[in-house]
Symmetry: C2
Subunit: 185 residues, 2 copies
């Protein structure tokens, strides 16, 4: 169930967040920008944190389908390339950076961010389930650790270090985690 | 060269940042809190971004000596434990989160953050130089990738997911990167 013009509402929410920051994000502003009555928006999402949580998970802009290339290596490289694109291309990088930057000061937004990460991981698990069926990954491997190592490296490199992610980054990062860096095999 | 009471100035800078955010951080506020004349502070650091950059790298609170346990595995586990402690214990986690959260909106602060990460990596390189001398790491291995995978996983787990880092986290994360997760050796 969703209100009509749901995607317009989500898009207005993410645009406002990017332009004005979380402090400047209001249901009234979203109503004005999306052309939807504010009482309609309040009926579906009781607060701006709830609205933003929904937008992060359901907006077309941030739509995420886990890759299915036929191999775990190929799927993880696609995941890394997808995260790199999200964090380096406009407007998604602005959305991600505005959301995650503000989350550190707003506990209710931090809850929305946690829900976003949980939702992403639930979808990413399909990649690991298929890898196990193909015999590519032992039962003892920890998928959450794998996605946090890879996603974390993208985040630090692109956002904190402000360095470009070259074409080989995905292959190198995935090889480090799948094969290990000691080169002893 | 440094002014007298340098550490008091740095501590006041980090405290003010944590309490009032980057917007509320001022040289005047630091002068008041540290008991140092503001013209003295301005003589050494011409802007609050410059002052914060110096504090991030030189404050005793964030002091960092690379571990030297005798093995690459031991050193990397110590590095991960150190990052986990930094990001989960007060007041360093508040400093880190306030700095990195604000950096996404303030380019001059982003420069300070980049300098902080560059400084850390320059110190961490000693760990990898020793590992190569001991024959633990091939020449082709990429130390920056290794520290970004490990540091990124700590950041995502502790800050974005808000999940605890259990006692085994360091050993598991380091094993993933050194040995690979496919368990094929």
């Amino acid at each position: 169930m969703a209100p009509r013009k749901e995607q317009q509402i989500f898009q207005a929410t993410l645009e406002l967040l990017t332009v004005r920051g979380y402090e400047g994000l209001t249901i009234e502003g979203v109503a004005e920008r999306s052309g939807v009555n504010k009482t309609t928006i309040y009926r579906w999402w009781p607060s701006k944190a709830a609205l933003l949580a929904a937008a992060l998970i359901q907006a077309d802009l941030l739509l995420f389908d886990p890759p299915d290339t036929g191999t775990l290596r190929g799927d993880l490289e696609e995941l890394v390339r997808g995260m790199a694109a999200l964090l380096t291309a406009s407007p998604t990088s602005d959305v991600a950076v505005a959301t995650l930057g503000a989350a550190v000061h707003h506990p209710e937004l931090a809850t929305a961010v946690r829900r976003f990460f949980t939702d992403r991981f639930a979808r990413e698990e399909a990649v690991f389930a298929r890898a196990r069926r193909r015999g590519e990954l032992p039962e003892t491997a920890d998928p959450l650790l794998i996605v946090d190592l890879l996603g974390g490296a993208v985040w630090i490199r692109a956002i904190f270090r402000g360095l470009p992610l070259d074409d080989d980054f995905a292959a190198h990062a995935v090889s480090a985690v799948l094969d290990g860096v000691t080169g002893k095999r």
